[in-house]
Symmetry: C2
DNA sequence: TTGTACGCGTTATCAC
DNA sequence: GTGATAACGCGTACAA
């Protein structure tokens, strides 16, 4: 069943049916008749033909490294909800390894998506910004959690540096003098966090030794091992900050296994304020970087772009330290 | 740039270009020439026109209640990977409230998706099976974690009942005699789990009191409160099984706060073997219901259907009890 | 206010 | 092995 059938049944032309469908100017009587016929026959316009005519199927591609990361899952959830609110579908791409991402860019472009949303600051690395810039020449690009200065690229970032810096200062004001920072990646946001850590130390007048920042894989056990090694090497610290809740969980587990009292002997602050932060014992204090707000703003940027309104290249969202029982 | 431009530039007809694109029979020389022209001009076929001609854009709709549930996120991740492997894109629908799902079914049908995958046994409730059955009349439907007997509906289920039953028996063989079961929902799989709990008790010759199964919202604090209430009401139990890892986390937190030793005084088994099970202290024993295998099998079913091969209506996947430090 | 006619890019069918 | 042409279903100038 197509638009011709409806036109015939309603005794009008296909143009009129089309106008009814697309809120064009139609006589009231004709409008009602056509609507009635469409309902009776259970007519749905063919999406492909519609896409061909309009040059869009109202679809947005979303690229993320992986989705069973709670942080990204939350982002996608909010993106989906908000995109749908504006009538857009979401095509999901789990890119995994970064080297694969160009393949997904091509895939999405071939599908004629209306825009591409990239989740994670890893998409904002300077070394590989070229891919994203190229993509942005062909379709609007929004980065959630990062930004690249290039035509067509828009970004929503959060104040990672300030967040960690503030957290350090908060702990310092509680009497902590020896800090350890555990991080998993030096993605752009990872760098900001680390920088914030040392800035915090500096502002508190604490000697900033590079050894206070330890890199380890994003894994609970790996974090546990890193803490163990730090203690074994003679380091002293009473407060641990991490770039990820998972790493903080490792720290907590180490403390529990070695009878270190949290938060009295060791304070711990995670990052992301994920579900994990409420699952640990004691519940983990964590920096909430407001991924849901970032995602919401991202869609807002996109809608602005679609409506050809003036759109800022970069938006910044502030964070919040959620204190639970580990500080 | 369209297929005509390529045809002109290569000095052939559009039919030949099309054949080159679709691995049709083309002379070797002509083939090379056309490919070269396409590469030089950077030609990509228009996806909408292609969809119009073929009646498909190789897209599968996936409906899930929410995605920041670790369990569902894992499912989606595996689905995406496997669908893509077979050349299909995934349109994500987070349906949230169940009442909304019909809207998403319509949306996906309007987009002419090649199939719809439903994640979660909530889509297999008898009371609302009608919606799904109707959907299946228009497009193939795969349910991950559930099954409905209706034309066009296929399901991958896991042996929830057997899993919980076995878990009870395992604990019984370790000397436990008093059990508590904490559950959040009586979705079809929720019912199976509960049934398995009581079957396990029966097989161990333990009196099955309905009060041993307590319902509570899916929330860590709610679970903690439920355990507290159970103890307060004079119930005795040395082993807690839950329908969800989150509930088990609540039990662990209650134990920690009240000096109850795990697993000596209280054994705890969760369900789903999610990331949470490794984040708790002590790490949580949990039943792995193999959501990744189920998802993989789901895509396999779909591929079978697309290739018009004979396809079973229902597939069953076995589970595994992953013992960590709470048993 | 309504209708006609054409274009969109592709594939399938036939004829050569 | 290749070419011409008719669908596919809809949107939209333009004409009436």
């Amino acid at each position: 069943m197509n638009i011709y059938d409806i036109a015939n049944a309603a005794g009008v032309s296909i143009a009129t049916v089309s106008r009814v469908l697309n809120n064009g100017v139609v006589g009231k009587k004709t409008y009602k008749k056509v609507v009635k016929v469409m309902e009776e026959m259970g007519y749905t316009p063919n999406a492909f033909a519609r896409g061909l005519g309009l040059g869009t199927m109202n679809t947005v591609g979303v690229v993320v490294s992986n989705i069973y990361d709670l942080y990204f899952a939350r982002a996608i959830s909010v993106l989906e909800e908000n995109l749908r609110k504006h009538g857009y579908d979401l095509i999901l791409c789990c890119a995994g390894d970064e080297k694969e991402r160009k393949k997904y860019f091509r895939l999405l472009l071939a599908k004629n998506v209306d825009a591409v949303i990239l989740i994670g600051s890893r998409f904002a690395k300077k070394e590989t910004a070229q891919d994203v810039a190229e993509l942005a020449q062909k379709t609007p690009v929004i980065i959630i959690g990062g930004y690249i200065e290039a035509p067509g690229v828009h970004g929503v970032i959060c104040e990672d540096k300030e967040a960690v810096c503030e957290a350090v200062k908060t702990m310092c004001s509680k009497g902590h003098k020896k800090f350890l920072y555990l991080y998993d990646t030096l993605s752009p946001s990872g760098q900001s966090k680390k920088k914030g850590f040392f800035e915090g130390l500096a502002e508190c007048g604490i000697d900033a030794d590079e050894k206070c920042a330890i890199k380890c894989p994003r894994d609970i056990d790996a974090a546990k091992a890193a803490i163990e090694k730090a203690f074994a090497s003679g380091m002293e610290f009473t407060a641990v900050l991490t770039s990820e809740d998972e790493l903080a969980v490792g720290a907590l587990q180490y403390a529990a296994e070695h009878g270190i009292k949290v938060p009295d002997d060791l304070a711990v602050i995670g990052y992301n304020n994920s579900l994990l932060s409420r699952a640990t014992n004691p519940p983990l204090s964590s920096i909430d970087n407001k991924v849901d707000v970032m995602s919401e703003m991202g869609v807002q940027l996109l809608v602005n772009i679609f409506e050809k309104r003036n759109t800022p290249g970069k938006i910044s969202v502030s964070t919040e330290l959620v204190e639970r029982a580990t500080t």
